[in-house]
Each structure stands twice: as C-alpha cells, then as structure tokens.
Symmetry: D2
Subunit: 349 residues, 4 copies
C-alpha cells in the first residue's frame, strides 16, 4: 500500500544504491577517515559557500541534536526551543538524558520569534536569583519546523543577531532541510544558513539517504577531539564510508536539491487533491508535510487504501493526520491517493 | 538589620545548639549509623504514624529532590510538576542534570490539580507516538507550594489516587512542611501525608535546623543500597550525627510543630501590618511566606530599614517582594518592621 | 593497496547489497517495526535455538556495549571486564560516560577466568566497607577476545555459573562472533552462547554487514520500553530496514557462518605465510586476527606494499602489528601479501 | 568506649561550637554569601600565601572530589590516580557516575610517582589509536595518602612539572591535609601546595569541623558560575554560614595547625605503644593513621576494649586494622588503649 506517513518509508535514491554497490569492495579507512567522507565534506562546504566550516557525519537526527547540544553547552546551561520543537517533544528526553534542560518557549506557527528569545534572555539576567535557574546557552530551531513551516531570512537574521548579542550559538536542525530550501516561498538559501547559524545539519535520512546527517560547524566551533566525543556516545560508525558515499552522491550535480524539489512538487499536488475536495488544513504549510483534519470515520476509511500518519487529536470527532511527500514520491503514488479520495468523496468530502 | 528575606537567615533552634554541644565529644559511628540518627528515625516514624516507613537524612532540599527523583525514575521517565515547582525553576537544572525531564503542567495558585495530572497521563498513553516522548514516571508537589499555598486533603487524595491508578509514586517536597502543617486553615496532617504520598521529606533547613531534610519512604520503596546511591552523588555526610542530633531534637516534645506554629503566628502579624496599611498582596497565602506588591520607590526606601526578598517583576513600576517569617521570628522583629512601615506611611502606604 | 588492517575495511557481502537494492523502494515502517527486522529476528532466534529470546538491532558495537551495560546495571553497580576488554580500553570511556565503572581484572590470554571473577565478588562482599565501593553488577566478556583468543565451553559454563550464583548477568560482546564460532578449535556453538549468557550480540559490522549488531536478550531480561531507552541515547535508526535487511540476509541459508568460515580459512593461510618465514607471533590465535612482532625497519618496508594495523609497542626496536582477514578476504589478497613478504625475505625474515 | 576507628568519630573543636553558638541568631545571607565565609576565605588565602586564589566551601570530601573532577575535565577526559586513591576505591563510583574514568596507575607506598605519570601520558599520545581511549585530563593525589604516607616536596614538584608540561591540572585531595602539614618528617608547607597544585582542598570534616572542605583554586581556574554547578549537583548549602563560621574559626590564630599537631603527637604515642609491644606495622606512616597487623584472635579480644577500624585482610589468620588519632584525641584516650593492650599482653603481644 502506498504510504504518505512520513518521508522515511523508502530506501535511498538509486544513485546512492549504485555508488554503494560500485565502491563496495574498495579498501577504505574506518571511522570517517575515508576518501568519500573527505570528498563529501568538500562538496558540502562548497554548497554552503563556507570554505572554513567543519563538516562531520552522524547517523541520525536525535543523535545529532543530542551530540551538538551536549557538546556545546556548559553543564549549567539549557537550550532554548519552541514548545513544539523536536528536542522538546519527540526525542524521548534525549537532551535531558544528556543533562540539559530544554527551555521551551511559545512560538508562532511552530517558529521561535527573535523577540521572544530576546525577552526571555533579558528577563533571565534581570532576575536577581538567576544563578538558581538554568542559563540559556543555545537557541535550537528546526527548519522546516515540526509543523512544516519555514523561517524567513529576516527571522533567521533576527535570531542570529540575538544569539550573537548574548554570545550563544544558534543551532538549526535541518533534518528536512532540502524540503525547506526547495520550497517555493522561501527566501533562505543554504549559504544564508551557513552564514547565520553557528551549527546546523543537512538531513539525509529524510532526504534520499538510508541514514545520515551532515553536521556543519560554521564558526570554528567544532569541539576539540569531536571524534572521541562521538565515540564516547556510541555514535561513531566504523564504516564511515556508508555516510561518506551517500553524502558524496547527494552533493554531486545538485542531486540533494533536485530530489528535494520533487518532494515539494508532489506535495503541491497532494495539497490540491485535498483542497479541491474541501478538506480542512490544520495549518498552512509550504514544504513536504501536509496536515489535514479528518473526521474520525473518514480517517478510518481512508486508511484502508493509503497509509498516512497520526498527528494529534483535534476533538472527539476529528483527528489531524499527516501526509508527507518525499524525494521518492511519484505521480503514480499521487494517483493512488486521488483514487482513494474519490472512493470517499460521494459520502463525505 | 532585621531580615525577612527568607526562613533560613538564622542558625538553629537553641535546643539544637544545646544538644550539639552536649553530644559533641561522644564517640559515634559515621555515615548515619549513629544512635541519634536511629532515635530520630523512630520519632519521625511515630509522628507520621507510619511504623513501616524508612527514614533517611540528607543535607539539603535540592539534593533531596534530585536524589529521590533520579533514584526512583527509570531512565526514560520524567517527573510531573507544576510550572512554578521548585524542581522546574530554582534548582539550576538539577533534575535534568540527573537525566530527567521535568514535565511542567499549569497549576492553580501554585498547585497541581488531580484532573490536570489525570488528563496529561491519559493523553500521553493515547498518543500513538508516545514511545518517542518522555514517560510520566512520578508526580512532584511542594507543600506548602512555592507560592505559600496549601493542598487540601481532598486534593492530596485526588493526586494520590491518580498516581496509584497509573502506578507511579507521589513525591511531596516538604522543605517548609512544618509551616504547612501548622497553618490555621489546613485539614492535612503529617499522618495524612505519610498515608497519601509514596515519598516525602520533612524540611529542617527552613524549620529550625542548621541543615537537613528527613526523607520518608512510606511504601517499602526506599531504593536498594540507598547509602551507596547517596555516596555516589557526594551526598553522604561523614558525621551523620549532625543530622541525627538535629532531627532527634526537633522531634522531641513536639518542638518541630511548636516552632512552626511560631512562624505562622508571626506571619499573621506581618500580614496584618501590610493589610492595615492598604498594601496589595500578590497572592493570598496561609503559611509563613507573604508576597506584597510594592511600588519600586517604596521598595527602595523600605530596603533601608529591613531586608526582604525579591520575588518577581510585576510591571515597570511595581515589584513583588517576599516577607518570610520563621521558627525564629520574634515580636521584636515584627516591631522593627512596623516602625519601618510607619516611616514610609506618611508619603505612600 | 590490499589492506589487512582490520575486518571492516570493505563494504558488505554482495547478497546484502543485492537485497538492499531489491527492497529499496518498498514502503516500510520505521524504527525497526518493518517486516525484514521481524523476519531477521525469527531467523536469529532459530539459529540460537532460543525461541523465547528477544532480539534488537543496533548500529554499532560501542553503542551496543553502552546500551546493554547502562540499561541493565543499577546506578551503584559496575561491570567486570578483563583489563584488555574493549569496554575498558577502546571505547573512549563510553561506559563511564554512561555512569558506570569498569571493574578491570587480570586475565589469561585476554580471557577472564571464572575463578578470578568468583574471588573478586567474594572478596567484595567480605569487605566490611563495600558499600563505599562499586558493586559488581555484570560480567562482560568478548568472544573472540581482543587478542583473538576464544573461551572454551567449560570456561563459559564456569563464568555463567558464577554469574548465576551471584544473580548478575553475563554479557558477551560478539562483535566478531562469527569468527569465533567458525574457528577450528572451538567447542562453543551459538546455542551454547544463548544458553549460557544473559545477553550477547552477533556482530554484523565486522562480519559482512555495512553496519549492525544483533542484540540477543536470552532470559526475558530486555529492559521495558527498550526502544525509548535506545531513542533517548540517539541510537534508534529511523530506517530500521537497513539493519533488518542485512541481518535477514546474513541469517538466510547460513550466510553468516559461511562467510565467517572464509575469514578463518584465509587467516590460516596468512599464519602459514608468516610461520614459514620464521616471524614471531605476539600471541597464538585461532580466529581471524593475527598478531606479529616486527622489527620496526621491517614494519616500515612492509607498509609500502600492504596495509596492516598497529597493535602495540614491544620494545624500542620492535612493534606488534595486526593482520586481520575477513568475510571478504580473497586468495588474491593473500597472494599480494605473500609477494610483499618475498620482497622482504632476503634481508630479514 | 574510646574509638580510634577514624578521625571523624567526634563532633567539632570547642571553639567551633562556641562560635556557632555566638553567631547563631545573627541574620546572615544564604548560599555562602555571608560575612563569615568571606572572612574565612581571606584567612585561608593568607595561610596559603595565595592572594589571587579562589576559595569555595563544600560539605564533604567525595562531593569535593566529584565536583572538581567533573567541572574541570572535558567529557572525553579521565583522571589519573594511584590504584589505592580514594576516588578509585572508596567513593561508590562517584567519579564514573559523573561520567569520567579513573585512570588507575600503580604507586609506591600509596603515592603516585612523577615518572609513572609522565610515562603514562607519553605512551598515551604515542599510541596511534589514542582517540579511542580516554584522554588523561587531570592528576589526582591525596596528601596524606590513603596509607597515611606523604609526598615529599620534590615529588610534588615533579608531579606539578609533568602536569604543566602536558597542560593538565594537578588536584590534591587534602581531606586530612592538616595531619600531613604537621607531620614531623614533612618538608611540604601549605604555600608549597598552593604553588604546585592547580586545585586542592583543606579538609575540615576530619580535622576539627562538623563538616566542610575548603576548595582552593590556585590558578584562576575556578569554573565560571561555579555556584550554579554546585547547586545543580545538590551541593549548595542554604546556610553557608555553617561552613563559613567553622573555617573562620579553624583559621583564626592557627587553630587548624595546632589541632592537627595534636593528632600527630598522639599518633606517635600510639605507635610507641604498639612498637614497644612488638606488634607488626602494615606500613610505616608519619601521619595520624596507623596500620597494625593483628592475629584475628587478638583483634577480636582487643575489640572488647577499644574501637578501631578494619583495613584489609592479610591472610586467613591476620587482619590489618587502622588506629587513627585526631584533633580530639586525649592522653586519657591513649591511656585506655594502653590498658587494653596490657590486658592482652601476657598471652600474645
């Protein structure tokens, strides 16, 4: 059955499979010291227009978040995030497990506003008892956000300015970064992100790879002996080639951007299917995630034909569900969804 | 200058100083294995009407909170607290430092309502993705709360029922427990607390001791080898007698309750001083903490005569401040405050 | 240049690449809930003759060690290991980072002897002050060991008996388990291991996979909500299929054992090459790792033709180096090594 | 019964009790911000001849060790200690619980030799695979050691030189520092220690105080926001006056040194009692701890008259026991011991 439940239900882009096959029997150094990792890093730095950046490959997103946050914060610092931020809600407490509080602030459409952050930090230092509270030591944002929304360049500049004013890093979780960069509405480029953030990652797992996230430290701030830190958390991959070959492929001839654009185009088609039939959207999004509010009975019937994701309960009769397109979504997949919706539409649309 | 800034600005009750002096040169076993610790434990169990409880002495409140929460939770669990709970706001992230998220819920007058907890836990398990979130593994409350308010017996019974329904412990932070038990309005007794909570502590630091909190595990749930756990966190006192003698004294002839009552009586007099002069209260309290909203200029002038605590900014012209009475507050102290208020009153009351 | 530096210098067995390719575009559930993970688990349980075991896939060995040890130990417990154990020497302190001491005992040929363990635990409990020390809470062994040696069935039975006597789990690190099971001299089978250990893992990374270790909990002792624990440490793979497909392939038609046997056969040929030329062995091994003591000048010359691993300094003129065969080693690789040795042999053998 | 089992079996020096009583009802700031803490810090800095040092008071020794080590090490670093070091053996794994490995090296008479440390660090960096091991990030020593022995000034200079060569701090655990400084044989002064170490502490718990250790950071290396770090570990004392008054008293008119000298004088008398009667010493010590090897039957009989400490089993018929004198030991105590030994001596001496 065709699945729109997430953007990680299928394997890897065919070019990646091909390159893994071609390079399979080469003798390569372990632990990310191989030539493909080196090549991939150079290509990523070029795409970021950040020749002085440090790039490091990790396996997954929660791992990347935990590693960045715990290795850059001091013990008495926490990380500011919007309430709906992935680190605050969907990582089984990974940040706290690493010893740090998530300082969760209210957002707007899943986004953290610069003025919210400035006020929080200003109030913190204005409180005479702040030594007994958790120091704000980093700002974490997701782009796209957990709600599929995007920061504008102006908002990112605002966040960056606040962070630099208070001397704390701005960290951007780019698990779905490609889908943000290729969104029609955005005015944010990869070099913008590299310029405005202190550290971010380019997600592979959800954008064409079997696994892998490319961490980019933009301001000479990669922690010393970072490999030892990664090893210590059990996150150092012996066959680092698995990550190197994948990212080298994704950043050859713009593949990462091309397949991201596919997801956006397909998501537009999905949006249209729902909009044409009068369905209600939980929130307006411009990336590959689409949140629809369904009557529970409709949800159950639709689930017989296609797979999609539970998002949240709306009220006792309605549920918000998620449809995600991806690098791999085809017109045939969309056609299956359309057919399923047609089967529903006589009764309830 | 007389200080009302907190209830820990003076040393220990004279009986404690006397007993420390009298027992000073006795040869006693270390690490809480002495006879005074043993005697104090028996007296506390008797006062709690909980003969099967386990009592353990620790030095301070944040230490007690961290120890209880981290030793009773599983790694993937967090602790539910009201947003204003001490563990969420004033412990420098001690709970997260020990690896656990504080699941902060909205309260009423600083109190966590049973229905809020039930709804949170019910919703948690209803969410299909809850394995990626933090499991609610304990409920933490303060009594009195950080706002000086008190749970009713009915509220405590409600919280206890929810916790038992879901099989998680109810933990009561009693850093100021004496002041709650001796409050005029309360219908909650120490045996009630022992019956309804799985673990709680009887605060000494703020109620007549130089230091010390008496942890009470009420349901055969003291962790195995708890002394090793305490030692491992650097919290095992070599001369445990310091805690044993103090609590043995506090629980001899009802001293703990008697000195707690003094604080309540004195707080009533302080309340009256402010009320008679038309000052505004931030919140109505029935224990030893009184929160007054002052004009900033008044605050600055009053600070020339008596010491009190900053609580929070109200608006640009007003600040909430805290006046705390204690086991040691005298009528002479109150008279000094009255005189200071008189000096202010011609201009602004 | 041909490399014998380790058994993880090449990709994955061709069957694995083939199956990854074939299954690539299938829609599959994430986080290890897919059909290939399920199928692989059943095959592994069958191979272990342990129908009641729980199998869980992780990405790497240090991760597996850290996860097992930290999730099974209580906070005040440490893990017993031989001094040369991987957890004690080559994991950047991952076990301590997770809060636990490695209790390192002397071994024999890299192996921990049952009587050593029994004496240690007996002495521990005999010490009146043991509450201030670290409790022995688990026994960790590697099979093959870090020195390429193997436990006999009798030794494993001895260790298992000690562990069961004291009620602590026996944990076997099988990062190279295949090479141990297929060694000519061994009397230990996979079902023996499943019967005698409480938890162990079957290494994929070093035995034909791109990555992956199959954890086997044999005694209904997989921690509750283990996925949440794994997620919390950043170790939960979104596309769990990557591990499922690989292990499903490795345990189809005995592939795991067949390719392990290849490494053993090739290692015998390598041993012969060195033995025939009079080289000195650091230690006699029966698995895929061979440790040779070379004059430093010989080492430098040989390094021009083939790649091998540094092991340890022997004295100022000699170094121990490691030659590892693997699932992928070919006769052509061996011929290259032979040719290289021939180039050296006139001068120094 | 008179006890020689340790140096923390009695309360506090009478001057301390007197000062605690006198200052008891003063209104003082909390959390170590009071005037007595300030005064005590100045006196300690003067005694150390280290006007630029930072002094911080903590409650206990394990707490101090854990706090210093965990706040100064980076996550991938461990602390070098002699095998018998307190942090390696008697703290229930507190250092590992805080995430760091104790790198235990062999010593001489309980002391770590400079050349041992230099060789270890040199070998570490010479190992090509050292990124997978734990980096040596600090050297920990006890003075007096756990065996009652003392470093010479030359040995301390050697350790200091190694540490500075490799850019890592030298940390001296002075839980019994007074007894080391007042030992007859020593050529080490308190200013020497302040000059040669980067951080150390002056023990109060075992030298005349009810509790308390005075941490001295000598090289502008007190971690930023150290109070927040201390709070986060539950180690910040609300009534810091308890520590301030005690250390202010101990460092008034040389009391700390005077009472330490008493312990040394009394220990000489105890040594003489045993030596005159032909008892065997486990090790020759020059401080307040004396280790005697007793036949088990003698040990049991002697225990009827005086209390002493178990140290270690020697063989099946003999046990090493510890007699400790202290700041409080009197000639009357010694006379009791002598009388007890006389009761034994006819049969076995």
């Amino acid at each position: 059955m065709v699945s729109f439940s997430s953007d990680y239900t299928q394997g890897a882009h065919e070019n990646i499979i091909k390159r893994l096959t071609e390079t399979n029997m080469e003798f390569l150094a372990g632990y990310g010291e191989d030539t493909y990792c080196a090549s991939a890093k150079e290509k990523i730095k070029a795409a970021c227009e950040a020749p002085e950046a440090d790039v490091y490959f990790l396996v997954g997103g929660t791992q990347a978040n935990q590693m960045v946050i715990s290795s850059l914060l001091r013990s008495y610092e926490g990380v500011i995030s919007v309430v709906s931020g992935h680190v605050n809600t969907h990582e089984a407490g990974a940040i706290e497990h690493a010893g740090h509080k998530v300082l969760a602030l209210e957002g707007v459409d899943g986004k953290l506003m610069p003025e919210t952050v400035r006020k929080y930090i200003t109030d913190f230092y204005a409180d005479a008892n702040h030594e007994a509270a958790v120091f704000p030591g980093m700002v974490y944002i997701s782009h796209p956000t957990e709600y599929g929304t995007l920061y504008t360049k102006s908002e990112l500049e605002g966040l960056s300015a606040v962070c630099r004013e208070f001397g704390i890093p701005l960290f951007l979780d780019g698990a779905r970064l490609g889908y943000g960069l290729m969104s029609r509405g955005t005015d944010v480029t990869l070099p913008d992100i590299a310029r405005l953030c202190d550290v971010f990652y380019i997600g592979g797992t959800k954008v064409g790879a079997l696994c892998g996230e490319a961490l980019v430290f933009t301001s000479k701030n990669m922690p010393a002996h970072f490999s030892a830190v990664v090893k210590q958390k059990g996150a150092l991959l012996a066959k680092g080639r698995l990550l190197g070959v994948q990212f080298d492929t994704l950043f050859t001839d713009g593949l990462y951007f091309e397949i991201s654009r596919n997801a956006i185009e397909k998501s537009d088609k999905i949006r249209k299917l729902f909009r044409d039939r009068g369905y209600k959207f939980l929130i307006e999004t411009v990336t590959n995630q689409i949140f629809i509010v369904l009557e529970n009975s409709t949800m159950q019937e639709l689930a017989k034909y296609v797979t999609f994701g539970f998002w949240e309960n709306v009220d006792k009769d309605h549920t918000a569900v998620r449809f995600a397109s991806s690098w791999a979504t085809t017109d045939a997949d969309i056609a299956e969804l359309e057919a399923a919706l047609e089967l529903l539409s006589p009764q309830r649309k």
